[in-house]
């Protein structure tokens, strides 16, 4: 029998970055809020404390802070005709688990998308003509502009204590920053990180070729910092255990370091852990949600939690899964192109060139998640899509983020993977390799989407979500273009040898090697209920008291890491709810 708990004003599903931001912003309005987190609670101490967290096997290899596929996973296929199989063991992407979510185990790279990315279809049509968009490419405008979001990017970056060098402040180009970025209202709250030898060498070579290197914007604090919530960050000590780990040093921007301790003090905010939301419950007329039903692990029972507002703040994949399970929005159908929920799943097209230098010791263990130098000379707004034959762009970057030996030691191609030559190779080359990577956009396509799997179920008996995704020629041409730009930089750096790894024609999606946890789309935002699942305020078109936060809203993937945009959209949505929705709950568009 399901238990019914007393009604709340707001129920938040998932307590990561967006859940913590929404909790704080709406708690400040005096609302009674309950957040439900399916994983465990996590604090810097004891969960991330030294030396226990410096354990590559437990966290870097066995994924101690990630979701267990046994508890939650999905199925994957590469096309409409393939039978999807479960993502049984983590590989390609690593959704987080527990309080803080992926916000504890990210690297901290915090970018703003380009102005053009928010209105990508319009930009392409106006600049190059609609005819260059491939027939099966389903890119859309976001329905919100960079200009509208700028104050919210600023707010997120100052809340999170981002370290960087501005390149454009109110239209004035700043020396040493990214000259191609959209204008910022002011500079970063903290100065940029220190750079390793590899990043300095890359920046020197790029500068010598007339390119414009700048420090990667970092959610790794470079000085003591206190944010608007009174939360304190301490300067990063470059421990070399950032991505996949919680920060032992109170330096990495995360819900723990930036929000949660302040949020826990709000008497009108509470949260429950080990409480997995099973579905959003809809009113009989299906015009609103009445609350959520969750599984209370401790009590071993289902609980109905009534609420006036339901905020889906879980990871992108899980928000979409809940919407599909709950009947929020019409499920997308790739054969007709109709329906919206699950539409436009996209990923990230990355590639890289590895350089080997006998004479340089890069000390790869002395590193942070976000140190590194980047160039944006081949960004989305810098490329003639008609001339180059693709739509998209990448930032290009060098910056070693760790020297953990199990996760891999780069060896010159041809070195055996075991035996005496391997053993001699790892000794010779550990610390003597660096890479230049391209971090690129991924367009959306008619047959790349999310729906419910017909066969496999989870521990609650719910259908798993099914991902249909593969690499497409447009994006492969984009990454090959980046290769043609990176290899000359690599050659100019005169390494002993170098080798490239970029997706080539015919590349198939491989779920095994880690690629990136930048899964986007499926709950995309827009201004037309026929082509988007949520409106420009991330409000469900079909149930006006349901909002879906996070990167599920991206109609295609940007060329940058998503967290900056996820944070800005959260503050944008919080403002819309505060100013327009609470006084008069209704569809905001």
């Amino acid at each position: 029998m399901a238990r019914t708990d007393p009604k709340k004003d707001v129920v938040i599903v998932g307590l990561g970055w967006t859940g913590a931001i929404m909790g704080m912003e709406l708690a400040n309005e005096g609302l009674e809020i309950l957040a439900l987190e399916r994983g465990p609670d996590r604090y810097t101490v004891p969960d991330f404390k030294y030396p226990d967290v410096i354990d590559e096997l437990k966290y870097g290899i066995r994924f101690g802070f990630m979701q267990k596929p046994r508890n939650s996973t999905l199925t994957v296929r590469r096309g409409l005709d393939e039978v999807a199989r479960p993502y049984r063991q983590l590989g390609s992407f690593l959704p987080g688990d527990g309080v803080g979510g992926a916000g504890i185990h990210w690297n901290g790279q915090t970018w703003r998308p380009m102005e053009e990315e928010f209105r990508l279809r319009s930009y392409v049509e106006e600049s190059f003509g609609a005819e260059i968009i491939p027939e099966d490419m389903t890119i859309q405008d976001w329905g919100v502009t960079y200009e509208e979001l700028e104050p919210h990017f600023d707010r997120f970056e100052y809340m999170a204590g981002i370290a960087g060098q501005a390149g454009n402040i109110q239209g004035e180009i700043q020396e040493g920053g990214n000259p191609f970025e959209a204008p910022r209202s002011r500079g970063f709250p903290l100065p940029p990180m220190k750079q390793g030898l590899d990043a300095q060498m890359f920046a020197d070579a790029a500068r010598g070729m007339g390119l414009h290197p700048f420090p990667r914007p970092a959610g790794n604090a470079t000085a003591p910092y206190v944010n608007e919530y009174g939360m304190q960050l301490g300067p990063c000590n470059y421990c070399g255990f950032c991505e996949r780990y919680g920060c032992l040093n109170y330096s990495k921007s995360s819900p723990q370091t930036c929000i949660l301790d302040a949020l826990r003090r709000k008497p009108n905010f509470s949260y429950r852990v080990n409480s997995e939301v099973l579905r959003v419950e809809l009113a009989e007329d299906r015009q609103t949600a009445t609350g959520v039903t969750y599984w209370d692990e401790e009590a071993q029972e289902e609980v109905f939690q009534p609420a006036d507002i339901v905020l889906l703040c879980a990871y992108q994949l899980h928000n979409v899964h809940l919407m599909l399970l709950s009947g929020i929005g019409q499920p997308y159908d790739p054969t007709t192109g109709e329906g919206v929920t699950g539409k436009n799943y996209a990923y990230q097209m990355n590639g890289g060139t590895t350089l080997f230098f006998r004479e340089h010791d890069f000390k790869p263990f002395a590193a942070a998640g976000s140190n590194g130098m980047s160039i944006d000379d081949y960004a989305i707004n810098r490329i003639d899509f008609a001339a180059e034959g693709f739509i998209g762009g990448s930032y290009i970057t060098a910056g070693i983020s760790n020297g953990q030996p199990i996760r891999g030691i780069s060896l010159p191609r041809g070195t055996p993977s075991w035996g005496p030559e391997w053993k001699a190779g790892i000794r010779e080359w550990y610390g003597h390799a660096m890479s230049i990577g391209s971090h690129g956009s991924n367009m959306s396509y008619r047959d790349c989407y999310l729906d419910l799997d017909p066969t496999y179920t989870d521990r609650h008996g719910r259908p798993l979500m099914r991902m249909t995704f593969n690499w497409k020629p447009n994006d492969i041409r984009m990454t090959q273009f980046m290769r043609s730009k990176i290899e000359p930089i690599a050659e100019a750096m005169a390494p002993d040898s170098w080798q490239s790894s970029y997706k080539a024609e015919g590349a198939q999606y491989d779920v095994r090697p880690y690629q990136t946890t930048h899964n986007v789309g499926g709950a995309i935002m827009g201004t037309d209920p026929n082509t988007s699942a949520v409106n420009r305020y991330l409000q469900a078109w079909t149930q006006h008291n349901v909002f879906s936060l996070g990167a599920g809203a991206f109609p295609q993937n940007i060329q940058y890491n998503p967290t900056g945009a996820v944070g800005a959209l959260a503050y944008w949505t919080a403002e819309a709810i505060r100013r327009d929705y609470l006084p008069n709950p209704r569809p905001l568009m």
Binding site: C239, P405, K423
Partner: protein, 232 residues
Amino acid sequence: MPLPDWKTTRRGFIGGGAAGAALGAMALRVEAQQAEPPSLTEYTPEFFGAEEWAFVMAACALLIPSDDSSPGAIEARVPVFIDLQMTGEFGAASDWYMEGPHDPSADPLLGYQSPLTPAEIYRQGIAAVNDWCSRSHDAVFADLPPETQLEVLTALDADEIELAPEIRDFFNLLLQNTKEGFFADPMYGGNHRMAGWLHVGFPGARASYLEWMDKPGVPYPLGPVAISGERG
């Protein structure tokens, strides 16, 4: 087996004066810190049977061989690491989604699709390879001369020894776990005396390098430390 001094062998760096003396003292402390565990020949595996243990020992010795300059998988006690992993959560696939239906013949790009746990793959994989060796060479793997063992591992790596689809990942699993055992914190039973970390120059759990960001070209002077506080 004595381990190489961190600085003198690893980087060919000649430390002088106080620094050199400090390093000497550090090397002595290593020996004083922890008693040697039982030798591998006296170790009683928790998971593997005698024939399986002999296989794992022989295979690890070839995957990361010992040589004059540095220890290999055996000195690093990698087989102990693998044995302990098999009895734990990893061996039982306790984090993985293991519900059927299973299609172990699926395109490998779709990832792990075997119905078997890693522990079961070791058990069946070792039996299958020993069976193949017995048919081809009249002896189980561990009893073959090292050069023949090398040929068998090379053939396994190249998928030239046919294994049932359920255990097709056996060699990759063995190799991955062997490397893990060479580089994981010593508390997991391998990387004994931090042999793997010393071999490549990884300082383990030191985890604080702010001042080293401003010293390109200057080698990091300290050897590794383990989570237990043991220093190498």
